[in-house]
Structures are given as C-alpha cells and as structure tokens.
C-alpha cells in the first residue's frame, strides 16, 4: 500500500494567471509552448481562442482568463500555451507565465469547500500550500471532457 510506504508525491506544473497561482498534474502536460499565432474558429464559445499548429497537428486553445471570468490580457513574452493531454485529446491553455514544478503529497492538498462563488471552483481538485503561497490545482480531466462532450 502506498500509505505504508510513505506519502505519495505528485508533481505539478505551476503557472500564473492574473496574480493567482495554479497547478496541473505534470503527467497531463505534454509540452509548454511560447505564445503563437492562433487561428480563430467561428461559432465557438468565447473562451475557445481558436486553433494552433503543433507540429502538424491542429490543437484547440482555450483562454483560461475568459473561462475563469478574469480580465483579458494581451500576450507578451512571458505568455505560454500549456498543452494538456487527457484521453488522447490535447488542449492548449493560455497562461500568463509558467513558474516552476512543485511536489505535493496527495494529502497535502486541501480540499476546497464553497468558500467563494469563484467560477474556477468547478475545476479545482484542491489547494496546495508552499509557505505563504497558495496553489490551486486544476482538474484537467473535467476541463477537457467537458469540452469534448459539449454539443
């Protein structure tokens, strides 16, 4: 049993959006790219920015700022697109910057009960703490499956 052997640690890629810090399971990250030209696709929800060419593959890109109801921001040198992969579906998410990779033990993640009526809450697995910093760990599965099941 994992517990008996010690706490199971997982690695998370930490990125920033609008001063907030978020984390995603490193196993779900396929690659992190600099901001590139995005082709807008008509009749899609506003948080879908469009599609990019990732080495011959067409990948949809989502703007997490719009998705989470945050003010939008022009891309700059720090802007990154994190390519997330789940169930053979790849989705790029635009973030302000990517900071580092951190380790959390499974039970170090604090669950979030409805403290706020934050729109991000639906996609949160838990909150990780590094000193004073709070890192919101996102539920990638939900983010992606929600899109693929959308009619």
């Amino acid at each position: 049993m994992a517990k008996a052997l010690g706490k199971e640690h997982r690695q998370y890629v930490v990125f920033q959006i609008d001063q907030q810090e978020f984390g995603v399971d490193i196993h779900k990250v396929s690659i992190i790219e600099k901001y590139m030209n995005i082709t807008r696709v008509p009749t899609t929800p506003p948080y879908i920015k469009g599609v990019v060419n990732l080495r011959g593959e067409i990948i949809p890109v989502m703007d997490l700022r719009i998705k989470f109801g945050l003010p939008s921001k022009e891309p700059d040198d720090d802007t990154r697109i994190i390519m997330l992969k789940f169930n053979d579906v790849t989705l790029g998410v635009i973030v302000d910057s990517v900071a580092e990779v951190v380790d959390f033990a499974e039970d170090e993640l604090e669950s979030v009960t409805s403290i706020t009526n934050d729109r991000t809450l639906d996609y949160v697995v838990g909150i990780g703490r590094i000193g004073q910093r709070l890192i919101t760990v996102l539920n990638i599965e939900k983010l992606i499956t929600e899109l693929t099941e959308r009619e």
């Binding site: 082709t39 807008r40 696709v41 008509p42 469009g50 599609v51 990019v52 067409i58 899109l147 693929t148």
Partner: protein, 701 residues
C-alpha cells in the same frame, strides 16, 4: 497457450474466408451442379474449422464441422442442393460472422451455441436420405452415443471424434507427413496401429487415466499422432475417448492387454493400419490436406488438379495485396503533408528573392511530393468490391423475403476509392439498394401484367469520372411517381398545393431525401419507414459527395452517387476575409466574379446577385464566419464572389480578396472542435499558420 497475439490474424482471415464462402454459396445456388464451387466451399469451411479449432473456439469449430458434414454429403451426391438448404448454409455463415465479431470485441467466441442451425444441418442430412448413423458408425463405435451435446467440452471431443469419423474405414485424417511416416514404418516391417481408447463414464481424473495409457503406449511404441492433441488431453480438453496412432514392433494383443489392465477404461479398439489404407486414403481428405499444407502430392494430382485450379488463382491474387495498418499509413500521409507544407513555404520564399535555382529545386520538390502523394494514395485505395461483395447476398435475401425475382448485376467492382470512403459508403448503398428492391422492383404478377421481364434487375455500377468515383444504382422497376410525391408533399403539409405544382421534377424528388418522408403506404421490414434516404444524403455529403436521382415512371429509377477519390489532400482556393485566411475546396467552385454593388438585390428578404441573367443567393462569408475586421462594402469598388455549386444549385460566397489556388492537406479539427457547421476542417499553410476550410456544402443555400 496464449493465443491473443493471433486473434487479429484470425479475425482478418476468418472474414476473408467468410466472404469467399458468401460468394461461393451464391454461385452454388445458381448452379447447384458446380462441383468446383462446392469443393471451394468445402475447402473454406474446412479451413475455418481448423482455424477456430486451433484458437480454441469450440462452438465455431462445431458449427463448421456440421457444415462440413452437409457439404460432404452434397459433394458425394448423397443429397442435392436446394435454396432452403442454401438458406441454412447462409444462416451458418451469419452465425460464423457473429462468432468472429464476438471474438473481435471480446476476444472470446461467446456462449451462443446456434443449436437451431446445427439441428437444421443435421435435418438436411436426415431428410436427404443419408443414414446419418451409418456415416458416423463408419468411424468409431464411439458414435453409439446420442448426438445431443450437453456442454461445450462435449462438443469439442465430438467434433474431433467426428472428424475422425468422416474419414472412411475409421482411419483418422492424416496429413502428408503422417502418411510418409507410416509408409516408412510399414516398409521396414513395423506395425502401425490406430488405437481408440474409451474411458469409463464415471472416470473423474480423465487426464490422469489418459496419462497412464500414454505411458504404456510410450513404453511399447512410438506415438506419431494423437487426437485430440496430447496437450489437450493433459488439459482434460477431451471427452471420454481419444485416438492415437502408434508405430511399434509389438503386436496388437500386448496393447489390448496392457491398456485394459488400467482402471476405469471402458474399451480399447485397435486397428492395424495397412499400406492400402494409407495409399487409398479418402480423396477429399487429400484434397483438403494438400491445400492446407501446400505440399504437392504426386499420387493425388490427377484428382485434385481440377478442383485446385480455382483456389489457386485466388491464392495468387491474395499474394499481391498487402494488409497495411491504417495508422501506419496515416503516419506516411502526415510525412507527405509535411513535405507539401515545406513546398508551400519555399514557394513563399521564392516570391521574395528571384533566382532560377530556387525555382528548379522547388519544381523538383513538387515532382517528388506529387509522386509520393500518388503512391501513398494508391496504398490507401481499396477496390469498391470490398463493399459490393456483400450485396448479392443481401439482394438474394431481400428478394426471397419480398417474394420477388430480382437479379443484381454489378460492374466496375475494381474501381478504387479511398479506404475512409469505402468504410463509410456501405450503409448508404444498402439503403439505396433496399429501396430499389422494395419500392422499385414490382411483384412478379405486376411485372407480368406490365409485360416486363419476370425477373427485375438492379444494376450496381462503379466507374471513375475525373477526380470522382460514380456509383450508380439503377433498377428497371416502376420508377418514382412524381405526381404521388407531389400529393404527399401537400398531405404532409410541407408546402402549399400551388407551390408544389410549380416545383420542378428535380425539386420534387429532393423531398424524398427529407427526414420522415416515405410514399410507400405499407411499411415493410425492408424500407418505407421514412428513415433512409435522408440519412443516405447526409452521409454522402459528409464524405464530400452528392446524390442525384433520375427516374422515369414505369421504367425505373437511377440513383447516382458521386464521391471524391480521396479526402486527405485537395485543391483549394485560398481567400482572405478581413485579416483571416480561409480555404474553399476547388471542386465545388464554379466561377469567381467581381460584382457591381448594383447587381446585389434583395429578394424575399434575402440578398441575391444578378449574374448573366442568373439570380444567385448571396452568402456573406464574413457574417457566417463571424469575421470582425472584414472590409465594409463602402470601402470596396466591387464585391468579389466565389460561386459554388451544390447539386445543381448555385450560391455566391462573398470574400474580401483572393490569394490563389493551392494544394492543401485536410486536417481534422479534433474532438473538441467537431460539429462546427460552417467549417469542414483545417489546413496548415506554408508559414505554419492554420487556415480553416470552409464547408461550402453546408453554407450553400
């Protein structure tokens, strides 16, 4: 043993065999006296039996075995072919197909015993006047056991034992190798015995008993063959009996005595194998063996030449085709698309600096990519035969069900289409064929009354026409009653009577492709539920094709399906709307014009353009595609429109400017983006950016 690695091969090969069985059965029904076809069917059934046996699919094995019995009786003229029998054989085929499908999805054959079919097969043998028991008794005395089987294990050994029983004189089926060994042994004066051991019914540790028997045998002789296999006996995969062939210097009595001294042995039957027995082994056994093992057999040649001819031709043909994993092809395809992208990139650069070396190398690159493209496309191409070959059977079944006489005449089966199209075209064609058989072809009496040939004919043709493949389904039936369809449109309240009268024949026929539209009063099992033609149309259009109907009342109708040769790489026109680039498939473009704004009019609240006396509906692409920075009309001198055709209707798409014609590689937008109506896909431009491909079919009015 782990058989999983062979499952794919098993499924593929089984399907091939079933398909050839299908066509052979149809041939057999046409000409019941054709022994060549019969032998072919027998061969295939035998191979299937062997394959399923090897894989441990005992139910499948048992079914094929019973089929084989019937086929064998047919071959030996003990019974004759009739269509009921062919029906049952077809049912076998369906059952086998089901087994194969179950194997494919679950890795196992499932629990369906298909007892009804097995019984029906047994019935044929009985009714055919064949003394079933005699056939069985000719083998082992083990056959005194009633033929009902209780469990699958029972079935295995029965099937196996019966294999033995089919051969004459009780000699088990021997392959060339066995025969050679026996012949050699006999030549040097050894005894060869076939020993059949039956265990006591109450025996609990069957394999243990069998093991003891094998020990005795091994001590006194050399075992050259065991039925079931030794491994199966060890695993208790046998009933209460087994047969071995041994070579020994000892005599019969010794074995009889020794084996009988083992506890729980119900009986031992020992038979000496004589040179005549192997020299005169049943011909059919040799024929099948030879084809299975591909070992030339000099002494049986004279008998086998004739029957072997046909399968031989097929074998050669099979050798020329290679089954390629579609995933690997896709990789190859991607590489080619990369090349094309590089080419496009180079082309961009040449515009910047003008040197002849550049253009030469680009020309070279272009030649290479074109050739590579062709080569890869060809690998992906599959003859439409792959789809067509199931139709004769289907039409036969429908004809019987509807009690009509229908003949299906096919041509152009060798016409090739992209694999992806082939996979999708089957269902629409089934719908149309059923439609023709059910709605088109009249009943026997009606045809007589109308002085038409008693047998209705459905033609299924395929041919290539430029960059398209055309598939036609034509029948000589009653044709579409346009007046009736008009009435139906009014009845269904789809259109006012006066408008319906003004519709052209083509427009009226278009209603048939609408959901829930059926003119047939009586709903049959085959068609008439009003689902079908609309689905057909949707599917074909999704493939980038089109359907048309030509009809003449009283003379029949013709469905014409046009399909693109390939879906992966197309010629496209690149256009600019605002700052965005879009690709329009060239195949649907009729012409490109600059229209004066005075030629843009409003008709019934819709914008149309006047072009050489034609009134064409205008589609503002910037609006449909939600482009925000499109150039407004007042900043333009004229309106650039791309006129596209959909069926025989035209639509004009407005664009800001034209970039030019380019070969583009179609890429899927992926799961998340699927279902966007106005976009058919995406492509990567020379600069690495993505351009969307406009779905002109869905945007055309």
């Amino acid at each position: 043993m782990d058989m999983n690695q062979y499952l794919d091969i098993f499924v593929e090969e089984s399907r091939e065999h079933l398909q050839s069985l299908n066509s052979s059965l149809l041939e057999l029904e046409k000409d019941p006296t054709d022994k060549g076809v019969l032998n072919e069917i027998f061969r295939v059934a035998h191979t299937l039996k062997g394959m399923s046996g090897t894989m441990g699919f005992t139910r499948m094995q048992r079914l094929t075995h019973h089929m084989e019995d019937v086929l064998d009786a047919l071959r030996n003229d003990r019974i004759s072919v009739n269509s009921d029998m062919v029906d049952i054989l077809f049912k076998c085929l369906d059952a086998l197909e089901n087994y194969v499908n179950t194997v494919l999805s679950t890795g196992d054959e499932g629990n369906e015993d298909n007892k009804a079919i097995v019984d029906a097969l047994a019935d044929i043998l009985k009714k055919g006047g064949l003394p079933v028991k005699a056939a069985k008794a000719s083998g082992k005395k083990a056959r005194n056991k009633p033929s009902e089987t209780k469990d699958s294990e029972d079935a295995v050994s029965q099937a196996v034992a019966e294999t033995a029983a089919t051969a004459e004189r009780g000699l088990v089926e021997l392959n060339q190798y066995d025969i050679n060994v026996i012949r050699k042994a006999l030549e040097v004066g050894m005894n060869v015995f076939q020993i059949h051991v039956e265990l006591d019914r109450g025996c609990l540790l069957k394999s243990a008993r069998a093991f003891i028997v094998f020990q005795i045998l091994e001590k006194n002789s050399e075992i050259i063959k065991s039925i079931p296999k030794v491994e199966d006996i060890e695993d208790e995969k046998f009933d209460f009996e087994f047969t071995v062939i041994v070579i020994t210097q000892n005599d019969k009595e010794l074995f009889e005595h020794e084996i009988n001294s083992v506890a729980e042995i119900a009986g031992v039957h020992i038979m000496s194998i004589t040179p005549e027995m192997i020299g005169m082994a049943p011909e059919e056994a040799k024929v099948t063996e030879e084809k299975d093992n591909d070992i030339p057999k000099p002494d049986a040649e004279s008998h086998t030449v004739q029957t072997a001819n046909e399968p031989h031709k097929k074998l050669q043909k099979a050798g020329k085709t290679v089954r390629v994993d579609i995933d690997r092809l896709d990789v190859l395809m991607n590489l080619v698309s990369e090349l094309i992208i590089i080419k496009n990139g180079l082309e961009n650069q040449i515009n910047a600096r003008n040197s002849s070396a550049w253009s030469e190398s680009i020309e070279y690159l272009e030649r290479v990519t074109t050739n590579l493209h062709d080569a890869v496309m060809k690998v992906r191409m599959v003859p439409v035969e792959a789809v067509f070959n199931r139709f004769p059977r289907m039409i036969r079944d429908i004809a019987r069900e509807l009690d009509k006489d229908i003949e299906l005449k096919m041509s152009g089966e060798e016409t090739e289409l992209d694999r992806t199209v082939i996979d999708e075209i089957g269902d629409p064609l089934i719908h149309i064929l059923r439609n023709s058989a059910d709605h088109g072809i009249e009943t026997r009496e009606e045809r007589k009354r109308l002085n038409k040939p008693p047998v209705g004919t459905i033609y299924l043709r395929a041919y290539q026409d430029g960059n398209n493949v055309v598939i036609e389904v034509e029948d000589d039936g009653k044709g579409i009653d346009i007046a009736k369809v008009r009435r139906k449109i009014v009845e269904k309240g789809l259109e006012a009577p006066d408008i319906v009268e003004s519709l052209s024949e083509k427009e009226v026929i278009d209603y048939l492709f609408r959901p829930n539209f059926s003119t047939k009063e009586q709903i049959t099992d085959i068609s008439g539920r009003g689902v079908g033609l609309d689905v057909v149309k949707t599917k074909i259009e999704a493939l980038g094709g089109s359907v048309e109907v030509e009809t003449r009342l009283g003379y029949g109708s013709k469905f014409i399906i046009r399909l693109p040769l390939t879906l992966a790489i197309i010629q496209a026109l690149l256009v600019k709307i605002g700052s965005e680039k879009y690709a329009l498939p060239l195949s649907s473009i009729r012409e490109i014009d600059n229209i004066k704004f005075s030629d843009v009019k409003m008709v019934r609240n819709r914008e149309v353009i006047m072009l050489r006396d034609m009134v064409i509906p205008l589609v503002r692409l910037n609006e449909v595609l939600e482009v925000k920075d499109a150039i407004p009309d007042d900043k333009k001198k004229y309106l650039t429109v791309v006129v596209v055709k959909k069926g025989d209707k035209l639509s004009a798409f407005s664009v800001d400017s034209l970039i030019g014609q380019q070969e583009i590689v179609i890429k899927s937008l992926g799961k998340i983006m699927q279902g966007i109506k106005c976009i058919a896909g995406a492509t990567i431009l020379g600069d690495g950016n993505v351009a969307l491909i406009v779905d002109s079919n869905s945007l055309a009015v």
